[in-house]
Symmetry: C2
């Protein structure tokens, strides 16, 4: 038994030290490994398979709205990055610079893309001539580089994977509609696929994207009560269009600037899955995103017929589920611990006695609930368990968020909550950036978003006491 | 009519100037565009959709053999690149160097990966401890950078997309088997999906990959008689394992070096598709890789019922084919030219009279063959046409290759063929690199491969006249 316990004992308790628990899970569930390249990660097969499932689901949803995939160069010449003033100020301090090609110094240095607005704009300036060329609804899947000082697996690394959508429209109204459409696709995806509830809203001026007119965000609450920005959608208005001269001839033969948007989601979503659903035994994966949904663990697998039966069940399930048999020479207890650590939603235990009685044991990862199921009904039973688990994981995450969402009417209340009760704080704001800065300085909490669903908590700004304009979600964030 | 012809007239004749024809097709079929980043390309929606189809097919074939996808950092510290002597000599002259992160100079400069052997080896050195950890069968889809001086769309650019597989095995035998397995997967993929026949063989010592023990290749013949290396698979033996100290404990508890392979295919395959199948009207796409397989062109689309019927047919076909309706306000003739330029395999022409007679016209892109088909049988007819087209495109490409493959017994014959008859030359070789060098110098032809299917053309080396050891395919190459 000592050996069996090792895998589980090796992770820190999440109540004791959430940050270490997180790092332990990331390593022990074999999602990621550190590399010799400081601040950059190796995404291992299980981590990457989660990303592939995320990609597949998002890509399908994008394409259903007319989005097409393209690929832009990974380098941005310095002069191109500098074309939009706010944008370059936001990104120049954190880019990696290429100065030599082979043995020759470059005439102009180039950065590795931290994001590709400037490349898309440069491309659109040639590509868009007439109203017939609009809208352009392009997206790319790629990696980007931001030279962060402090890094954490999935959450903040110098290179990460993402998708970045970049659209161009004839009118401001269309651009605004697309900005909101993509935010809603992100939010629905998080809830339906990742079982992760999110608050939809708008970022304050201080927190918006460099170069955007408005940034919209979805904010999720992690198990430790910290917020995670999980996807953003930006409306650029015609700011980039003017900087890059992206004009089209309208139906009246007049020159008009296009209106643009961009929107992105990243591998940090995998960090969110871990921190929303994980428990003391490790990862818990929502069935819809789990690379393996069902693991069959044979008991006394050397007995005649056990492995054969396990294979038979696997072959029966394979067309409807992502299923594997663990036939390694480890003990069943060890395999159970591994399956739990890796967050595989359903385990099937199958031994000689089960086979005799034409049954198996189903164990659900999140609740540990066990069911004895006839082998004739195993397929239906698994479907039921996976469906229930997907729904209940979302409900549980919602309940956790509700239980950790507070309201503050006064600044004392606000400070007390931020100091003692991890979670979201709903509080009113006068829309003056000075208050936002003071709150951050006093408490380290930041404005997460101005939610679309506005409520009135009080009449005055929680910080300065002047008349309030907006309800804001505040919180400490990753 | 003048307007309709413009699109077609704009491309150069392939017989007149094949290189310009190629560039014209790439642009007019909207596969690629130039960018402000010298030597880097923008892959446009149609080009990228072809790549997505290639990815989907290859990825499935890889995974069926147990391969798992991962993601490694895009940067390689200089000291890591230098660990394997031949490898660094091969790549250092053509890498892009990152020297600054944000405003700070890096302590050690890093290159953007030209290929990732060194990163995988560094990872495997930690990851592999015991024989239980083997084999490792990892692959990644990413972009790589090689600082080429001369670039051409898809064929040679400073950044390109590819997959790179990297495996580690317990024995030399297993590594050799994997090397050959992947080469055969590549070859089958080219023939079955891209309708492109390839010669399977081994590269000479001179032409092998930097750091490999042996490189295997598939070589295809383009329409102009030049060869294109279309995929390579390398056996590294234990050379990298020794340089990176990748050892495992075997069943007898002894330390052993692993044996490794790597293998890759790139977006240059899209260039191959263009140059193998294209014609004077533009691109011709094999049905299995075409983003759109069927284009419905309504005739007199403003007449009542025409567009509705086109949509109805589209909806009927959509579950089995990739199908679109062109309902833009261009003329039918213009739409025909565009469909031909873009290489869409089947066009459906549908006008009011057709609808009256419950029929439509199917036009096959490669042969221009027209068939009048009852609307009740349109689905079967399309399946037939696409299947036939896929098979006949391969046959035609094979016939073209046979017609442009020559044999040379003497050096005079050899030089005459290379100078006057574009294609492959089969000729014997003594295996002395001096002859290979002389041939290249005298004729610009290079050794393409030593095919698995060996034949005896003569007894003596075509260059020096000494006893021959091997039959080699020679040719001018992209």
């Amino acid at each position: 038994m000592a050996k069996e316990k090792k895998l589980v004992e090796a992770i820190t308790s999440m109540e004791e030290d959430f940050a270490r628990w997180y790092t332990d899970v990331v390593k022990k569930a074999e999602l990621i490994d550190y590399s010799s390249v400081k601040g950059c990660m190796v995404i291992k097969p299980t981590g990457y398979a989660i990303w592939e499932n995320i990609q597949k689901e998002l890509d399908r949803r994008f394409k259903e709205t007319g989005v097409e995939n393209v690929y832009m160069p990974m380098f941005i010449p310095e002069s191109l990055l500098e074309k939009e003033k706010d944008h370059v100020e936001g990104f120049a301090p954190e880019v990696a610079w290429v100065t030599h090609g082979g043995l020759t110094p470059l005439q102009e240095r180039m950065c590795v893309r931290p994001t590709s607005e400037t490349l898309f704009c440069d491309f659109y300036a040639n590509e868009i001539q007439s109203y017939r060329d609009l809208p352009k609804l392009y997206n790319q899947w790629c990696s980007v580089v931001r030279w962060e000082k402090e890094t954490r697996p999935f959450l903040r690394s110098r290179e990460f994977l993402w998708q970045e959508g970049h659209t161009a429209h004839a009118t401001a109204k269309e651009a605004q509609e697309r900005t909101e459409l993509m935010l809603n696709i992100y939010a629905d995806f998080c809830e339906e696929v990742l079982a992760m509830p999110v608050i939809r809203g708008r970022k304050t001026e201080k927190e918006k994207f460099a170069g955007a007119e408005a940034t919209y965000t979805i904010e999720a609450l992690m198990h430790d009560g910290k917020a995670l920005q999980s996807g953003t959608s930006h409306n650029f208005g015609d700011g980039f269009a003017k900087a890059f001269e992206i004009q089209y001839t309208d139906k009246e033969n007049k020159q008009q600037y296009v209106h643009q948007t961009s929107w992105g989601m990243t591998t940090r979503l995998i960090g969110a899955i871990i921190m929303v659903h994980g428990d003391e035994s490790g990862l818990v994966l929502p069935p819809r995103v789990a690379p393996t949904q069902v693991l069959i663990v044979p008991i006394m697998q050397k007995k005649e017929g056990v492995l054969e039966k396990a294979e038979e069940i696997r072959n029966q399930l394979i067309s409807n589920f992502r299923v594997k048999v663990d036939d390694s020479d480890k003990s069943p207890g060890w395999k159970f611990s591994e399956q739990e650590m890796r967050g595989i939603p359903v385990r099937i235990e199958l031994g000689p006695k089960d086979i005799e009685q034409n049954q198996c044991v189903l164990v659900r990862r999140d609740t540990r609930e066990k069911r004895i199921v006839s082998l004739d009904e195993v397929e239906d039973a698994i479907k039921e368990v996976l469906d229930a688990m997907q729904i209940e994981m979302l409900e549980r995450a919602k309940a956790h968020r509700e239980a950790h969402t507070y309201e503050a009417k006064t600044y004392d209340e606000f400070k007390d909550i931020v100091a003692n009760k991890p979670g979201f704080v709903k509080a009113m704001w006068c829309e003056d950036e000075a208050c936002e800065n003071k709150i951050k300085e006093d408490t380290t909490a930041t404005s997460r978003c101005m939610p679309f669903n506005q409520e009135t908590i009080s009449d005055t700004c929680v910080c300065c006491g002047k008349p309030a304009k907006t309800m804001v979600y505040w919180g400490k964030a990753y």
